[in-house]
């Protein structure tokens, strides 16, 4: 019964989204406040209806209702509760429902919290969001119904892919989708700005919080995915430049560029057209990602729920939404009044350079992802574009962006003093060069690129710290004065600092892990040893363990360094009878920022003829920074989001009752 309720709620949501689009559009045409309120009401109601549908599907999974085709295909009675819950979004249909939930959720949030928005802008944005809702909900209702019943319910379900039964991956899709779909509201605001013909500081101030929220969610989502790949796939890789990863990375890059260009539009009224373009681009990349992941046009490790027929429909949605958006842009953008002018050497100039590199980097990822497809369509020739290509193109572009990054925040708006900014960065540059030279001296020339990367990471971290030191006049003013200034720094500034430090830490972690990773593998009998880096592993014992829905073979190993036992790990090989699949459960030993990573393999005879197991171990130096860095970037985004200046614009403002002092703060 709940499944029918869910199906009904989903259809209702479609009707409500249609009403939202129609009523809000009518409200804009007639400037009628009653129609506008009705449109807002429809937006909130559409969200409520999708939420009911979502909960109904979740209920189907929790109660293992195998008469629902989706539940039968993706669940199993023996699966732990968390993964029954997570299976709700583990399939094509379920994840599309999650997509619709976020889409209508963002629309409802704009309707509820957007009281201070100009009426016309708000009505057009809500109408656009309603149209997007109609497109995706219609797809869900007519082509991807998650509530379809089976004629005959099976006794047992087919279970979720065991690789996906992992805490990091249970929460990865909801957060990732929050990011993907968060850009939909930014897209709607961009359409509204083009329709209204007004892109100014007020508009940028409106768009920035939503961009920050979507981008931070996307950052956390991608990081969770990378972390999952790192410890679940069993060889310690965390980024493969796989088409599906690229699909999530393109909106991230566009979003990062948008965050920065929106600052220029907000503070200086410049770059309005470009900011709108990026706002359209970010969600277009999100939709492109949805298409690539689900259509099966690209082979990928993550390819899931591949269905070419439905892929074509997603392509049509992408074509309609992005096509209309960019056509509107081409028509209206030339009429936009250019904003404030600035000298090439200025904060605006630095942010333009940042956008240049981020945009070209995003285009590179796009070309690398789609080129094999286009070449095959054009000539029939099949090629592969893998990590070496991106290493030679994307990484130099981002390195150049990182090289100029620390100077940006130290330049003044409008006309900056480059010499002064560089002087303030002397100490940071000195430390960075020293670090790179020290790394090079301790290693041979083969590590030159790694040394350069370490130098860049240190440069970013020290540069961000130098900027704070400059802002509080550290050592140049009395300590009390510096402390007072430090406390007075706006949260937006802290967000910038945290974000840039996070990027630097990520660069450090990625370079050190890639450059100095140690791998070792051997067939070990109980009592045998394996040396990896400075550590010695001993296989103490092995045994069999029974999990809730799997059987496992487990090895217990102790790690020693310098004759002292530092930790014990228990890696497993798990066998899931439901899907007849095995997974590896890695044994991780945290050593500060580094990991000792142990994989327990299959049975095999040792060279001396004893029964043994293949054990593989990696020493992954500073691997934690690869995940902590992006996390810090996301925290930076959220700190920036909590800035009063954004909140003031975002929160409902009772007219007339706000004292001037409050408005000026």
């Amino acid at each position: 019964m709940t499944a029918e309720l869910g199906a009904f709620a989903l259809a209702l949501a479609l009707a409500l989204s249609l009403a939202q689009a129609g009523l809000s559009a009518a409200a804009r045409l007639t400037r009628g406040p009653v129609l506008a309120r009705a449109g807002e009401g429809a937006a909130v109601a559409a969200f409520a209806a999708v939420l009911i549908a979502f909960l109904a599907l979740m209920n189907g999974f929790l109660t293992s209702d195998f008469s629902i085709a989706n539940v039968a295909a993706n669940s199993h009675t023996e699966k732990p509760l968390l993964y029954k819950l997570a299976a709700t979004w583990g399939s094509h249909e379920g994840s599309l429902l999650l997509w619709c939930l976020w889409l209508t959720g963002f629309g409802a949030a704009a309707a509820l919290f957007g009281k201070a928005l100009p009426q016309g802008l708000k009505a057009v944005a809500l109408s656009t969001q309603g149209v997007l809702g109609v497109l995706f909900l219609a797809f869900a209702v007519f082509a991807s119904n998650p509530f379809a019943r089976l004629g005959e319910a099976p006794i047992e379900g087919r279970s979720l892919n065991p690789l996906l039964q992992d805490p990091a991956l249970a929460f990865h899709p909801p957060i990732l989708y929050g990011g993907y779909v968060g850009f939909s509201l930014v897209f709607s605001f961009a359409i509204a700005a083009l329709v209204e013909g007004r892109i100014d500081a007020a508009w940028a101030r409106w768009v920035r919080p939503w961009t920050l929220a979507a981008w931070s969610l996307l950052t956390v989502g991608i990081t969770l995915g990378a972390f999952w790949a790192y410890y679940e796939l069993g060889w310690g890789g965390w980024w493969f430049w796989d088409p599906v990863e690229n699909a999530s990375f393109m909106p991230w890059l566009a979003g990062a560029a948008l965050l920065h260009s929106a600052i220029v539009t907000e503070k200086r009224g410049a770059l309005g057209g470009w900011t709108v373009f990026l706002a359209l681009l970010a969600f277009s990349f999100s939709m492109l990602g949805a298409f690539l992941v689900r259509s099966g046009v690209l082979t990928s490790v993550h390819a899931f729920a591949v269905d070419p027929k439905r892929g074509v429909m997603l392509l049509a949605i992408l074509g309609v939404a992005a096509g209309v958006g960019f056509a509107l842009f081409a028509w209206r953008a030339p009429r936009l009044q250019p904003g404030g002018v600035f000298a090439p050497v200025s904060r605006e100039g630095a942010l333009v350079l940042n956008n240049l590199f981020l945009a070209v980097a995003a285009a590179t990822v796009l070309v690398g992802t789609l080129y094999p497809l286009m070449l095959e369509a054009a000539t029939g020739q099949t090629i592969s574009v893998g990590p070496p290509y991106f290493g030679l193109t994307f990484i130099p572009l981002m390195s150049a962006a990182m090289l100029i990054l620390p100077a940006g925040p130290l330049l003044a708006w409008k006309r900056g003093d480059l010499k002064g900014a560089l002087q303030r960065l002397t100490v940071a540059a000195g430390i960075a060069i020293l670090a790179a030279v020290a790394v090079l001296a301790l290693n041979d020339w083969k590590k030159a690129f790694s040394a350069l990367g370490v130098g860049l990471g240190v440069w970013l971290v020290c540069g961000a710290v130098a900027e704070v030191a400059e802002r509080v006049r550290l050592f140049r003013a009395p300590t009390a004065e510096s402390w007072r200034r430090l406390k007075g720094l706006p949260r937006g500034a802290w967000g910038t600092t945290l974000g840039h430090i996070g990027l630097g830490l990520f660069a450090l972690g990625a370079c050190v892990e890639t450059g100095w990773k140690v791998e070792a593998s051997e067939v070990l009998a109980v009592g045998d040893r394996l040396a990896v880096g400075e550590y010695r592993l001993t296989l103490e014992r092995s045994g069999v363990a029974q999990g809730p829905n799997y059987l496992a073979e487990r090895g217990v190993l102790t790690a020693e360094k310098g004759g002292r036992t530092v930790c014990t790990v228990a890696p497993e090989r798990r066998f899931f009878p439901a899907g007849r699949q095995t997974t590896t459960e890695v044994g991780l030993c945290f050593r500060g920022l580094s990991d000792l990573y142990v994989v327990f393999g299959e049975r095999r005879q040792t060279p001396s003829g004893q029964p043994g197991w293949v054990v593989r171990a990696y020493w992954n130096p500073w691997a934690r920074l690869i995940f902590l860095g992006p996390l810090l970037m996301a925290i930076g985004g959220l700190v920036s989001l909590s800035d009063r200046r954004l909140r003031l614009a975002a929160a409902p403002r009772p007219s007339g009752s706000t004292p001037p002092a409050e408005a000026r703060a």
């Binding site: 060889w235 904003g339 090439p344 590179t364 070449l375 099949t382 066998f575 095995t582």
Partner: protein
């Protein structure tokens, strides 16, 4: 228990390129082989290199590459052999060929194009922009904020639209 052991035994090895039984005796040759593996695609897999893949075909290609390296072939010769057998699809690093010109040239071309456009725009004398009049809505809001319907001419609260106007006036 027997079921488990049978099931685990029946499954392919998990060690991929690190499998101790596959290794070459000479560490320098082994390092070369591993570096090559990262550039070669497991042709039946979903976008994995043969270094990472546990598929049987990947194991066979690894073996073939190791044998060729032991026989003293150069990296280029090994690559040529694999392309001959499996097509260009097997290379994760596409060749620098006319067909791939767009692929390899796009990043640099875009950077130069966009950078050039920016420089050209920066050189052009910026047009003077006059202060844009406020809309009725904005005037009403300023009046509400200041509590004085005429106050907007004397008092400049830091409402966003006003600060834009101020910055424009500076030019």
């Amino acid at each position: 228990m027997r079921r488990l052991l049978l099931a685990l035994a029946a499954l392919a090895c998990i060690a991929a390129a690190g499998d101790p039984s596959e290794r070459l005796a000479d560490p320098a040759q082994e390092a070369r082989a591993r570096a090559l593996y990262r550039e070669i695609r497991c042709v039946v897999c979903q976008n994995e290199s043969i270094d990472d893949s546990e598929a049987e075909v990947a194991g066979l290609i690894r073996q073939s590459v190791r044998e060729q390296i032991r026989a003293g072939r150069t990296d280029a010769e090994v690559r040529a052999y694999l392309v001959d057998r499996y097509g260009e699809f097997v290379l994760l690093k596409p060749a620098l060929s006319p067909a791939n010109l767009l692929l390899w040239g796009a990043p640099a071309a875009l950077l130069v194009l966009a950078g050039g456009l920016l420089m050209w725009r920066a050189r052009r004398a910026p047009a003077q922009i006059g202060a844009e009049p406020l809309t009725e809505e904005e005037e009403a809001r300023i009046a509400a904020l200041t509590g004085d319907p005429e106050g907007r001419h004397r008092f400049a609260p830091s409402s966003p639209s006003k600060s834009v106007r101020r910055s424009r006036r500076k030019q």
